[in-house]
């Protein structure tokens, strides 16, 4: 098996893995494996996975792995990193864990600029429990709990997580969004996130747009179409610069916009 088909840090005994056919988790974990292999840090990584489909990654790698409860992967990895700063902490979680039940942990870890990497899998649905409406479900998208499609006047608009975190991210953070339709690019983003942590600069948050053919009820053609067209239109790919790192520095609190505001 060559490096691009099965990375060296994958645990071969547990393959075929437990994800559904066509699931994007396999591709994100492949990109993560490629990044870990390239940096040769497999002996230092602490990999934490969350509840949801992401928990099926618990036996995926030949890495030290810990699995914890809904959205609490970030504080757990942050705690381990604070006790053992030589470790490389990776918190791997879905959009439900990161943006719904674990949002406060993610926001506070970003505010504190903890030296960990958070990988968020965005497949626009709660996949393990049967495809319910998630914070990232697209407007009009049908799910188990929104059979007529997501109505924005009732359920609101989908959350653009990296944009939100980039707005509060302190200097030295790294925030990016990749997609499983571009695996090499995603591996590069994850590698940059890990490098950011290895250099001790700050938090790295990488969101990966993923696929869920089982709950989207799509065939291979429609799976790629939904990911590359509809999802990528709403969730633009790229790296997001924190206001602190922009030319001119962070916006002033008592700037002109406040004058005469009452």
């Amino acid at each position: 098996m060559s490096e691009i088909s099965m990375p060296l840090c994958w645990r071969r005994e547990t393959k075929p893995h437990q994800f559904c056919p066509g699931c994007g988790h396999g591709l994100i974990l492949k990109a993560l494996g490629m990044a870990v292999d390239r940096l040769q840090i497999a002996d230092k990584v602490l990999f934490g996975c969350d509840i949801g489909c992401s928990l099926l990654a618990w036996d995926f790698f030949n890495l030290d792995t810990v699995r914890t409860h809904h959205g609490r992967t970030v504080p757990l990895i942050v705690g381990a990193k604070r006790v053992r700063p030589e470790l490389v902490g990776i918190a791997y979680m879905g959009d439900g864990g990161a943006y719904a039940i674990g949002a406060q942990h993610l926001v506070n870890a970003t505010m504190r600029n903890d030296k960990v990497m958070v990988v968020i899998v965005n497949n626009t649905t709660y996949a393990m429990t049967g495809g319910q409406l998630a914070p990232t479900t697209l407007p009009g998208q049908k799910t188990e709990t929104s059979p007529a499609g997501r109505r924005t006047e009732r359920e609101g608009f989908p959350l653009r997580g990296p944009e939100m975190l980039a707005a509060i991210a302190p200097p030295g953070s790294y925030v990016a969004r990749g997609s499983v339709s571009r695996v090499r690019r995603l591996a590069r983003l994850l590698e940059k996130g890990l490098e950011n942590q290895l250099q001790g600069r700050g938090i790295s948050v990488v969101e990966a747009l993923s696929t869920c053919p089982t709950n989207w009820r799509t065939n291979a053609e429609d799976t790629w179409k939904f990911l590359e067209k509809e999802m990528t239109d709403y969730f633009p790919l790229g790296e997001f610069v924190s206001p602190h790192d922009r030319a001119g520095g962070a916006p002033k609190v008592n700037g002109n916009s406040r004058k005469g505001g009452g």
Binding site: S2, P16, G22
Partner: protein
């Protein structure tokens, strides 16, 4: 080292297409991504009892390895010929 998987090979002019039915779950993502339409459904079933894929038009394969890259189960491997 580690677990080994059965391999089925198709040899073309530019590369060898190798698939492991032990790993292929039949999602079909590679069929859509192949720029030369080399890959198609096979009559054999894989690990989940679903149809696996085969390199039906191997003479068109350019060994670009996109299929191996987009396979979530790492079931495909390409050996490039020099």
């Amino acid at each position: 080292m580690g677990k080994t998987f059965t391999k089925v090979k198709w040899e073309g002019p530019k590369g060898i297409f190798i698939i492991s039915p032990d790993l292929c779950k039949g999602c079909g993502l590679c069929i859509e991504k192949c720029p030369s339409q080399v890959i198609d459904w096979a009559m054999e079933t894989g690990v989940y009892g679903t149809f696996v894929v085969e390199a039906k038009r191997i003479d068109r394969c350019t060994a670009c390895k996109i299929c191996a890259l987009v396979c979530p189960d790492a079931a495909i491997d390409i050996e490039k010929k020099n």
